[in-house]
Every structure is written in C-alpha cells, then in structure tokens.
Amino acid sequence: MGCYLKSFARKSKAFKIFTIYLVSMSIIQVSSTFLGKILHQENLFLSHYFFIAQFLFLSLFYKELLKSKYIIGVLIFGLIYIIYQYFDDPNLYFKYNAIGITITQSIIVIYTIIYFYKSLAINNKFIVINIGVFLYLTSSTLIFASGNLIFNLKISEAMNYLLININRILYFVFQILIFIEWRKNYYKKTLKSL
C-alpha cells in the first residue's frame, strides 16, 4: 500500500481511486483487529463498512476503467438497496449481511469479467489487479455469505480457523497481485524519474 501511496500524486484517476480503496480497507482491518484482539469487543459491525466501501470504491475504479455511466447507476441502486435493508431489519447490523455482500461482490465480479473481455485485444493497465479482484471476490463471496451459518453451527474452533485462514490466504494472494501490478507498471517509471 505504501508503494501506491508514494506514487499517488502523479497517477491517473483510476489509480487514485484504487489507492483510496486500499487505504480504507486497511483502516477497517486495523480497527477490526484493534477492537477484537486488544479491546476484546464485538467487531462484526465493521464488516458492513468493509463491504460497502469495497463496493463503492471498486465501482468507481471500474467506472474509470470501463468508461461506462451505467456503473454509477448500478452503484446508486446498490447503495439504496443496502440502506433499505438496514431500515427494514436494524438487527442486521449485528450480523453478517450475506445478501448484501453477495450482490455487491457479484456486481464487481461482472465488471472484472467485462474488463477481461475488453482487454482481449489490447494490452490494458491494471490487468493484474483485475485478476486479483476477480479471484478474491469470486471465492471470498462464499466465505462471507456462509458467515452467519457458521456462527450458528456448532463446529470446532479448528474448522472455523481453517475457513478464516483460507480467506486470509486469498487476501494475501490478492495483495501480492496488487504489488506485482504496481511493480510492473510503476516501478520502472519511478526509477526513471529519479
């Protein structure tokens, strides 16, 4: 993330949005760890901010890449639907919003596939990030969606940790891909400009 921040100022709009996304994700993760591990308090409500921020920033990111105004429309609809969900059932705040997560992540996955299609003939930027978003969101959707179920199940700690660790591994792979993208596109240029 530091790498992205460093070259923040002189990059394209898509790049800036992606950097903001990374920053917001890391803030949520740090505060989640802080609440859970250090203060031993409930930190599940942060998952709502996590997926809404993810939906918001990745939608804007793909709006820049795909140059389509429909994405803004879809984004507004999605946000309205999520707000309605919380009005409809305030208790949702203390659970996983499985439907919300599934819908928003699926929409982003559709954008990644459209971007894959658009990159077939030309060598586009951000293709490695696109792969990362695609792989991570596709597989993690199910992990998040099954969150509520797992809380209600009586399963061993080990199993629970396994599931969380899979998510962690996937997220780590995602981070590595993001780093590769940065290295591929910007590392050389940074050297040149020095």
């Binding site: 596939i113 894959f116 990159s119 077939l120 003939a121 792969i131 695609f134 792989l135 596709t138 597989s139 959707t141 199910l142 992990i143 099954s146 179920l149 797992i150 199940l153 009586k154 399963i155 061993s156 199993m159 396994l162 599931l163 899979i166 996937l170």
Partner: protein, 266 residues
C-alpha cells in the same frame, strides 16, 4: 446426540470448502482462458499487420518500378523524337554557316530545317500532351475522356463507343487518377487484348460515380491474375485505393473483359 449434530455441521463446512475451491478453480480456469485467448488474438493481429505491411511494400515497389519505366519511356521519346531531329537541324545549320552553297541549295537546306523544326515542335507538343493532357485541366474530365476516345479511334484502328455523364463532382487530383486508369484500360485492351471494339460508360448518380469499361479482346484468366497481378493492374488498383473506390472485373477467353469501378464522391 451432541456428537451427531457436530458431524452434521462438519459436513456442511466440508461442502462450503468444496464450493469455495470449485469457485476458485473456475475463476483460475477463466483467467487462464483469458490469457490464452489474448495470446491468440494478439498473434492474429500481428499477422494481419504484417500482411498489410507487405501489401503496402508491394504497392510501393510497383510504384517505383512504374516510375522508372515511365522515365525510361520519356527518355526514349525525347531521344527519338527531339534530340535526333535537333541534331539534323544543327548539322544543316553548320553546313549553311560553312557557306559553300549555291542560293538554291541554301533555300533547300532552309526549307529542310523549317520542316524538321515544325515536326519537332509537333512531337514535343504531343509528348507534353501525353504526359499531362491540357484539356483535362482546362475543360474537365468528360472532355478529356472524349478526346482520349477520339484519339484512339483515329489512330489505333479501333472503334470506341462512349457514353459519359459526369457532373464535375470530384477534385482535379481525383479526376487525373480516373483519366489515368481509363488510359491504362485502353492501352491494355489494345496492347495485350488485341481488342477492336471498346465501350466506355460513366454514370454520376447520387454521390456515386460508376465507370464501366468493356472490350472484346482475348481476355485473361482472372484467377491467375490475382496471384501475379501485372504492373498495370497493380497500378490501377493503387489508384482506386487512393480514390477509395471499388474495382470489379470479369474476364475470360473469348468473352472479352469488363471492368467496373464504383467511387463515392461525398
């Protein structure tokens, strides 16, 4: 009871794991598929670009060759029609200057010089005319083409029918290209096709100019021509490319040749 429940729950977890891995596997497969398709598409594009490049090179080569041939022809014409005759004039003048001639002989020589000079003038006029017909510039394409047809009919022992409707809708530059194309058609028909009847018609309707040229010559095999398109036809094709027109032709032994060109003038 408790243990059984635990087992059932574990099964659900196992199913979730399997589903996650299947999803992940499908996602990876899609990414791999993407990269392979991209590789293939890029390779095809490269091939296409190379093909277009070699085609362009071919046209360039043909242009240079034609230019060289044209220069050779002009040099030959200048040498035959002008230099040789001016030589005669120069010789006769020298004889006159030396001055050991009777009045009658002098008169004879002067007449000869006048004669040769007049001939040379006519030749140089014709040469210049062949290079760029002045009528095209002054009176437009229709008049120039009619004159071309008349010239062919008068000098080359062929009958030329023409039906030209043209509203001056193209630029001078494009008109010259059309003129050259038709000149080439006529030369080819007579030189290679031994044609005796030529028919030229031009229509100018609604933004489209249609040119049709028919001869009754021996024709050629359209299939073999594709492969080793002669210089003449390559030249015509590149002119049509410049005009952004379309060329269609039909030919065969015994049925003569038909060329059709469509040009958009909007």
């Amino acid at each position: 009871m408790e243990k059984e429940l635990l087992q059932e729950d574990s099964q659900i977890i196992v199913i979730i794991f399997i589903a996650i891995f299947v999803l992940l596997f499908m996602a990876i497969a899609l990414v791999v598929f993407f990269f392979f398709s991209r590789k293939k598409i890029l390779a095809t594009e490269l091939e296409k670009a190379n093909l277009a490049l070699s085609h362009q090179k071919g046209i360039l080569q043909a242009t240079i060759e034609t230019q060289e041939q044209e220069r050779e022809r002009i040099a030959q014409d200048l040498h035959d029609a002008i230099s040789a005759k001016l030589n005669v004039v120069s010789l006769s003048t020298n004889v006159l200057i030396d001055g050991n001639l009777t009045i009658e002989e002098q008169q004879e020589a002067l007449k000869h010089i006048l004669n040769v000079t007049t001939n040379t003038l006519e030749s140089s006029r014709r040469l210049a005319h062949n290079l760029l017909p002045p009528i095209l510039d002054k009176f437009g394409l229709a008049a120039a083409l009619e004159e071309l047809c008349d010239e062919f009919e008068n000098s080359k022992k062929v009958s030329v029918e023409n039906n030209i409707v043209y509203n001056d809708s193209l630029t001078k530059n494009k008109e010259l290209h059309i003129f050259r194309i038709i000149q080439e058609f006529m030369n080819n028909a007579i030189r290679h096709g031994q044609a005796t009847v030529l028919n030229l018609s031009i229509e100018d309707i609604k933004n489209t100019i249609k040119i049709k040229f028919i001869d009754n010559g021996v024709g050629f095999d359209a299939q073999t021509l594709e492969d080793k398109a002669g210089l003449g036809l390559k030249n015509i094709q590149s002119r049509i490319d410049i005009l952004e027109g379309e060329l269609a032709y039909k030919s065969g032994k015994g049925i003569g040749t038909t060329f059709e060109i469509k040009i958009n003038n909007s």
